[in-house]
Symmetry: C2
Subunit: 431 residues, 2 copies
C-alpha cells in the first residue's frame, strides 16, 4: 500500500518534504575497491581486465582476445531473436534517429557591429564508450537510446562493453547493437570495463566519453574517471509521476504506475489527482493488477515502499508539487494537458493526454529514454545529440578591431594584476 497524502492535511508540507528527501538507493561504499581496480587496469591493462573479468563474472578466459565479441557471435545472436522483435528494434531505431536528427546544433559565424568576427563551431566527439549492464537490466532498447544519438552526432567510433556473468550474454543486446550499427563489442563490465575505456589497454583504444547505466561499481568508476573522459549522468532508480483528473480509466493509470514499479524495488510511482474517487479506484486497480503481473513481486515492493497517492484541491495546485518532485517521467492524463504543460518547469519527459503511456517513450516514441532521475531534472536533461558533440569558440580580430577592443582588455588585465595579459594586447597596438 502506497502512502496517501492530501494537500489539505495540516502536516502536508513536512510529509511532502519527507517524500522528496527520501533516499531510495542504498549507497554501497565501493569507492576504495573501485579505486584499486582503476589503478590496476591503468597499470597492467589487458591482463588486469582479464583477471577481474574471470573473478567477477565467473568465467575462465586466458587472453583479452577472448573478451572481444566476434562478428559470427553477433550474427548467431541475431538468429536467436524472433523476426517480430528485430522489426520492432528497427522501427524503434528509425524513430529515435528521426527525432534526434532534429537536435543537431548549428554552427554560428558572424561579424559583430564593431567588425569583430565571432563564432561557435560544433564537432562530434571522436570515440565514445557505451556501457550496457549484464543480467536482468540488460536492455536492448537502452543500446539504441545511447548509440543512435552518438551516431547522429557523427561519432566515428563506439566501443560497447557488456559483461557476461557466468558466460551468458543477452542475444537481444547483441541484436540491438547490430541494428544500431555497432561493431566493436567487448564482454567486460564493472569498474574494470570503465577503466579500460577511459585509460585504454594494449587491445582497447581509449575513448573520450563514456555513457550508459550501471551498478554501484560502474557509477563509482564513472565518477572517478570523470575529467579523464566525459561521462553522462549518474542515473538513479527510475520514477514516474502521473497527474490525473477524474475522467480516467483507473486501470490504465494503474498499469502505468506498475510499468514503472516493475523496474526495480526502489523505483517510484506517484499519482497526483484532484479526485478522491479516482485515487481510491487506482489504488484498487493496482492491487488487482499486481496479482497477474509477471514481475508483480518487484512492482509490489516498489509500490508498497515508495509509491504515493497525493490528493490536491485542483490540478493547478499540482504544478508546484510537480516542479519540486522534478520527475524523470511525467504523465499529464488530463482533459487539457497543454494548459498544464505550460506550468511544468522541471521534468525529464512529459507524456501528454490519456493515450500516451510512458512505455511508448521507453521504446518507440522517438525521444530518448535516458532521462534525469532523483530530482536532477531541476538542472539536467535527457540524453541527446548534444551529449556527443562539443563546441569550439572562434574569435578573430583585425588590426582595426583590436584597436577598438584593446584598451578595455588592457584595463582589465592590469586591474587583475595580469601584466602579461595587458602586454600581449598593448604590444600589437604599440601602446
Amino acid at each position: 500500500m502506497a502512502i496517501r497524502l492530501s494537500s489539505d492535511q495540516a502536516d502536508f508540507e513536512p510529509r511532502f518534504s519527507a517524500l522528496l528527501a527520501g533516499k531510495r538507493e542504498v549507497s554501497e561504499d565501493v569507492d576504495l575497491i573501485v579505486r584499486d581496480i582503476l589503478d590496476d587496469v591503468r597499470a597492467r591493462g589487458d591482463a588486469a581486465v582479464v583477471d577481474y573479468t574471470n573473478r567477477f563474472d565467473r568465467v575462465s578466459v586466458t587472453g583479452f582476445e577472448q573478451l572481444t565479441v566476434r562478428q559470427d557471435e553477433i550474427d548467431a545472436a541475431i538468429g536467436q531473436v524472433p523476426a517480430e522483435t528485430l522489426d520492432a528494434l528497427r522501427f524503434a531505431r528509425d524513430r529515435i534517429h528521426a527525432h534526434h536528427a532534429r537536435q543537431m546544433p548549428k554552427d554560428d559565424r558572424y561579424t559583430d557591429p564593431i567588425g569583430v568576427e565571432l563564432g561557435s563551431r560544433w564537432t562530434a566527439i571522436e570515440a565514445v564508450g557505451l556501457y550496457v549492464p549484464g543480467g536482468l537490466a540488460s536492455y536492448p532498447s537502452s543500446v539504441l537510446m545511447n548509440a543512435v544519438p552518438a551516431l547522429v552526432a557523427g561519432v566515428e567510433r563506439i566501443a560497447m562493453v557488456v559483461p557476461s556473468p557466468d558466460g551468458v550474454l543477452n542475444p537481444l543486446v547483441l541484436a540491438a547493437a547490430k541494428v544500431a550499427g555497432i561493431t566493436e563489442i567487448y564482454r567486460i563490465g564493472g569498474a574494470q570495463a570503465i577503466a579500460a575505456l577511459a585509460y585504454g589497454t594494449q587491445s582497447l583504444a581509449p575513448v573520450s566519453k563514456i555513457v550508459g547505466p550501471g551498478n554501484a561499481f560502474v557509477a563509482a568508476a564513472k565518477r572517478r574517471v570523470f575529467g579523464t573522459v566525459g561521462i553522462d549522468m549518474i542515473a538513479g532508480p527510475s520514477e514516474i509521476l502521473v497527474v490525473a483528473d477524474a475522467e480516467n480509466d483507473p486501470d490504465w493509470l494503474a498499469a502505468d504506475l506498475l510499468a514503472q514499479a516493475e523496474h526495480d524495488p526502489v523505483a517510484q510511482s506517484i499519482l497526483i489527482t484532484d479526485d478522491v474517487g479516482l485515487a481510491r479506484a487506482v489504488e484498487e486497480a493496482v492491487d488487482r493488477q499486481l496479482r497477474t503481473l509477471p514481475r508483480g513481486e518487484v512492482a509490489g515492493a516498489s509500490w508498497r515502499d515508495f509509491g504515493a497517492v497525493i490528493l490536491v484541491a485542483s490540478l493547478e495546485e499540482a504544478l508546484p508539487l510537480v516542479n519540486r518532485i522534478a520527475p524523470e517521467h511525467l504523465e499529464l492524463a488530463v482533459a487539457d494537458p497543454e494548459a498544464l504543460l505550460a506550468g511544468v518547469r522541471n521534468a525529464g519527459a512529459v507524456f501528454l493526454g490519456r493515450y500516451t503511456p510512458e512505455a511508448i517513450g521507453d521504446y518507440v516514441g522517438g525521444s530518448n529514454h535516458v532521462l534525469p532521475t532523483a530530482r536532477s531534472a531541476r538542472f539536467s536533461s535527457g540524453l541527446s545529440v548534444l551529449d556527443f558533440v562539443k563546441r569550439t569558440s572562434i574569435l578573430k580580430c583585425s588590426a582595426e578591431t583590436l584597436r577598438a577592443l584593446g584598451p578595455a582588455a588592457i584595463a582589465l588585465g592590469e586591474a587583475e594584476g595580469l601584466g602579461g595579459h595587458a602586454r600581449s594586447v598593448a604590444i600589437r597596438l604599440n601602446l
Copy 2:
C-alpha cells in the same frame, strides 16, 4: 627554458606522448576532509559554515548574518574601483551578453509523418550558485563570464560565494557582481561554501547547480555533490597552444605565451611552428620579456617546467598534434588561419590570425573564457547558455497513433521481460 621537440626526431612520438601525459596538477588528497565538511554542514547548517569560515579564513564571525555581503558594502566597493575599470567591466558585460544571447536554444514542437506529436522544450535552471575564489585568483572577469550566460538563460536566482581570507574581499569582484546584477553574495568559500549551496542552510536556500573555479577542496566538494546539484567542469591549470608560421613578430608570440604562463606555475604554453628561426627568436623574446614582467617569477617557472616549442615540417603536420593536445586556447598566427581551422577538431577556443591575442578572449571578445582544460576539449565545451538550461522531452499520442506505435512497444516490452510495460500499452488498445 621550455623543452624543444622536432617532428623529425626519431624519438618524437614518445616524447610528444610524454608531453601529453604529463601531469601538471599536484592532486592533493583532500577527499576525506571534504567529506566530513560536507556532512557537517548538511547536519548543522549555518553554525557549521560559521565554524569552518572562522577556522579556514582566519576571521571571527559569530553568526551567519555576518557572512552575508550587504548592499552598502557592495556600493562601497564600487567606490574604490577606478571609473576606467568599471567602464571596461560594463563593456565586457555587454559584449559577453551579445554573444551568449545567440546561444539560446530553440524549442521544437512538431508532428511526425505518423501523426505523433513530439517536442523539446528548454527552461532555465531556477537557482545557480557561483563560486568565486578568494585571494590572488579572484578575478572580476570570471564573475562576468559565469554570471552573464546564466542571466541570458533566464536563471532567476544567482547566489554568489567568495571567501574573504583574513577578512579581505577583492572590491573588483564585488564591482563585477554589481555590474552583472548579482545581489545575493556570501563571504564564504571552500568545501563549506559548496555544501551550503548544494544542501542549503537555515539562512541560505539551496541551488540546483554550482559553477565557477576553485582550489582542490572546492573541486573535491563539487565532485561529491554532483548529482544532488549539477556542476560545471572541474577546471585544471590554464594552457595555450600557439601555431605560427615564419611571418610573425616573435615578441607578439612571446607575449601570448607568457600571458598564459603568468597565471600559474603549472600553466602550460606551447608553440608549434614550421620555422626554426622563428622558434629560436620566440625563445629569446620570452627570456627577454620575462625580465620585465610583473609576474615574471610565476611565468618563468611555468615556461621552464611546462613550456614547449615543437618544430614541424609543415603547418598541416601541426594539425594532428593540435587535435591530440586538444588545447584550452589555440592561436592560429598564420597567413590563412581559416584553412587551418577547418582541420581543427579539438579545442576550447580558437583565436584566428595575428591580431587576436588570447587575452582578448579572456576579457572583451564576447565568447566565454571558461573553457575545457587538460585535453577535455576532446569531449566538452566552454561554458555557455546551455549550461544554465535543461530540456524536457514531449510526447503525445492519440488513440490512432498509439495504435500505430503500440504493437512494436508491446513486442519490445515483452522481449525485455517487462510485462507491465507491455500491458500499459495493450490495455489502451484492448489487445
